[in-house]
Amino acid sequence: MSAQKTERLMNLLIMLLVQKRYVTKERIRDILYADSSDEAFEKMFERDKEELRSLGVPIEVGTTDPLFDDDQGYRISPTEFALPDISLTADEASVVALATKVWEHARLAEATSEAVRKLTAAGAELDVAALDLVQPRLSADEPSFDLFLEAAQERTPVVFDYQRGTNPVETRHLQPWGVVRSSGRWYVVGYDTDRRYDRVFRLSRVRGEVRRDGPPGSFEIPEGTDVRAVARRLTPERTVLRAVLLVRPGTCHPLRRGAISTESGATGPDGESWDRITITRATVDLASEVLSYGPDAYVVEPAELRDAVIERLDGVLA
């Protein structure tokens, strides 16, 4: 059964690939589906086309006769069918082969294996030993990941419930452009049709199921869209701050780690001997970090940071 079907799919593919012109449905039926009833043929032919397309076979639909455009036919263009000749060298083929081990996500792991099989079919022996590489891993545990990616590929709008912090759950409508990872978390980037603006949503804040909200091909991703750039633009800017702090000896290890300079024997605010450190931090909120060390960290400058720390302490003691 399965062998028969493979044979039919292969023959359909070859038939459409070697013909220069569009092949009519009638001819396809006569040659490959001769034993089937009308209804069975329609069903089988639809399914077979879909299966070939899902493998990446580009089946084109066109008119077989320029005078009668109701005469529909099918073909596969050999240049569209074949992988462009990119001839990987042995070391390139080796890194490509390693790509199969990166995804800890069933569907994308399988897609990567399939891609690698195609890419390495054309030659090149592997030479993995020459690479200095530790194997990274990508996982995507959020249940909505697959649907957002699929919808972006199909250009299908989606609707989902979303909850930010303490805000009530909101229903959002989105034209998804892609998914992006940042600091270990996945986000979906797209055009929010309610707010009429580009938006980024964190997948872990999606509540319940993501539903399709229209047919595939309902929108276009703006040309030249780079999902990573959009995500970066829409997430809060991290300013780099230079600060001078006094820290008690033997404390505040994480602050000391990235210090530009450390100078021991400085006079602390209590008259004792402290360490003076200069740090730069790409952080949204350095005041919070400094505050967490309590009386072991003291801000010398900048004044804004010092004031922020004092003000927040006053807020507690008020």
Binding site: L17, V96, W103, A111, A115, K118, G165, G178, L313, L317
Partner: protein
């Protein structure tokens, strides 16, 4: 492979054939066992595939129109087991990538790039990436719709690899570990059991010989890890990472906080027992606290957006610590 659904069987067989023919075409002289290894299937499966291929060809129906496979050399006792396929030139190029395949492999390579530990290797990955992006651009998959994000810190990637190797080799590891609740770096020897990822952070599960108990170690708090020659002396399997595992330590006490909206993020970041909405955007949060110093540090970090409702001892500790910190600035002025 044999566990796959029968429905997928034909699709998968077609996919394999469309890669097998170009593979044979490019390599010339391929033995059955070599092909089976390259495609990760049994020799029997490859023969099955070739038997189907043997039935395929141009639509004319004449013998010359069919693809020719020398089945005999594969199956007869005296055969040389070399695969010979002829009359299939139109299948000699591999099929192009689907958008999902292009995305999956490009994203995987971008992630690999961040794992490269030398410039030479990074350069190889870049070359491969450029070619793949070119191949993808030629198809419908011009823009990859997934981005793996910032490269993880190279030092942490290397640390992870070293710890994984130690787990595999069952060797002990000497860790210098930062304990935030005590603001302290301490050294200890552990028996590593495995690594798990939870909420974006990676943890080492290990038996700690200093504490004589199993412990979780967050990789970004490990200051150094030296893999020792000594073998592990405990043999427990890695633990499951269950919700709340980081707080359910002996002697943990329930603390109730009042938090303003600016501090609400802690409910997503720490395993909290309960969250109850209060007035004007405030919430009451129940937390299990094993170490009072940890909570005081957290409250200082959140200041002034969180305060302790109960027990009073925690409220007092936080207040007095805040007062001492504030006095540093008063004295100096």
């Amino acid at each position: 492979m044999s566990q796959r659904q029968p429905v997928q069987g034909a699709r998968e067989q077609v996919a394999r054939l469309l890669a097998l023919v170009p593979y044979l075409h490019a390599h010339g002289h391929v033995r059955l066992d070599e092909a089976a290894t390259a495609f990760g299937v049994t020799e029997r499966q490859i023969v099955k595939d070739l038997r189907v291929l043997f039935m395929c060809g141009l639509p004319g129906g004449y013998p010359d129109d069919l693809i020719d496979v020398d089945i005999e050399s594969l199956e007869s006792p005296g055969g040389d087991r070399v695969i010979r396929v002829t009359n299939a030139d139109y299948l000699s190029r591999p099929l192009r990538l689907t958008p999902t395949e292009a995305t999956a492999v490009i994203v995987a390579l971008r992630a690999l790039r961040s794992g490269a530990t030398s410039d030479d290797t990074r350069e190889v990955v870049d070359r491969a990436l450029a070619k793949l992006e070119q191949a993808a651009a030629a198809g419908a998959a011009a823009t990859p719709l997934v981005d793996p994000g910032d490269a993880p810190d190279a030092a942490e990637v290397a640390l992870r690899a070293r710890l994984e190797a130690a787990v595999g080799q069952r060797r002990q590891v000497r860790l210098v570990y930062y304990v935030p609740s005590r603001d302290e770096e301490s050294e200890r020897v552990v028996d590593p059991r495995g690594l798990v990822v939870e909420g974006g952070a990676v943890y080492l599960d290990a038996w700690c010989h200093a504490a004589e108990a199993p412990r979780w170690f967050r990789l970004d708090r490990i200051r150094s890890a030296e893999v020792l020659d000594t073998m592990v002396t405990t043999t427990d399997a890695p633990r499951e990472l269950a919700p709340g595992i980081f707080t359910q330590e002996a002697g943990a006490e329930r603390v109730t906080l009042d938090i303003a909206p600016a501090a609400y993020w802690i409910t997503e970041y720490y395993p909290v027992e309960a969250v109850r909405p209060g007035e004007s955007g405030h919430h009451q949060v129940d937390l299990l606290v094993a170490d009072q110093r940890w909570l005081t540090r957290l409250l200082l970090r959140l200041a002034p957006h969180a305060r302790v409702i109960a027990p009073a001892a925690y409220a007092d500790a936080f207040r007095s610590r805040s007062a001492v910190t504030r006095s540093l600035y008063t004295d100096a002025e």
